[in-house]
Symmetry: C2
Subunit: 124 residues, 2 copies
DNA sequence: CCTGGTTCCATGCGATGCAAGATACCTGGT
DNA sequence: ACCAGGTATCTTGCATCGCATGGAACCAGG
């Protein structure tokens, strides 16, 4: 997918990411702190959720503003220092809450997309 | 869920609907034309995608503006006339396109939420 | 006439992803 | 010492979308 791609598919995928990206980023911090570029690479590797710095850094700022993550600076062996993001208790709670409501949402969309069984044709 | 509910769960669900609602509405028109209130009731019945008129009617206006649906007025036995929305060829193509990219997106989110195996710990 | 149910629509706000650009640190070659 | 390239962070302005709120029109019954 080249940059500047304005196909319908690209636009649909962009809208799909809304609201989900936040929780996928939180999920990435579940096991250990991560820094910005690391998160970016993990999303890129997933394929469907690949995004850009212009999306991730404002998102990380919001997470910090809302006390869902805390950050610590850490030196890097090769490059400028990195800001590591770690989940707070609130962040972990938000992630668990999303994990609870996601299956219901996912299954509802699946139900709409898979042809609902009009077994009898029309019975009305 | 009362109106004016500003819990985290409600906000997360609201953001989830972005971009998905459009295609679920298109999916509802796949077998036959539907009118506004009928779509609203079908979404309400799904549970996870329940929404309001203030969401559905602007959405339908966008679909019509983008030539994804056409509309025809039809008399009702009980009440004012109804505007029925039907898929155009473009609308059907958009629905099929979304149906293609949805599984990849869904599975990617599932992968993030279910603990990814950090088998090696850190190898860097 | 007037109340209630049904159906349609418009306006303004808040939240979010994105492209583009800016800044700073470190390493290596000349 | 100097400069180019990669790494890493962040800001700004824009477009899109869900939603609360409110309004308008039609029909039936008292």
């Amino acid at each position: 997918m080249e940059p500047g791609d304005s196909t319908k598919q690209a636009r649909a995928a962009a809208q799909l990411r809304k609201g989900v990206l936040e929780y996928c980023v939180l999920a990435l911090m579940r096991d250990r702190p991560r820094y910005g570029v690391e998160l970016l690479q993990a999303l890129e590797a997933s394929g469907a959720l690949a995004t850009s710095q212009g999306t991730v850094y404002p998102l990380l700022s919001r997470l910090r503003r809302d006390d869902l993550v805390t950050t610590t600076w850490q030196e890097s062996a090769s490059g400028p220092p990195r800001r590591y993001y770690a989940l707070t208790d609130s962040g972990r709670a938000a992630l668990e809450e999303f994990t609870r409501i996601w299956p219901g949402f996912r299954d509802a969309v699946d139900a709409f997309l898979t042809t609902p069984p009009p077994t009898t044709g029309d019975l009305a």
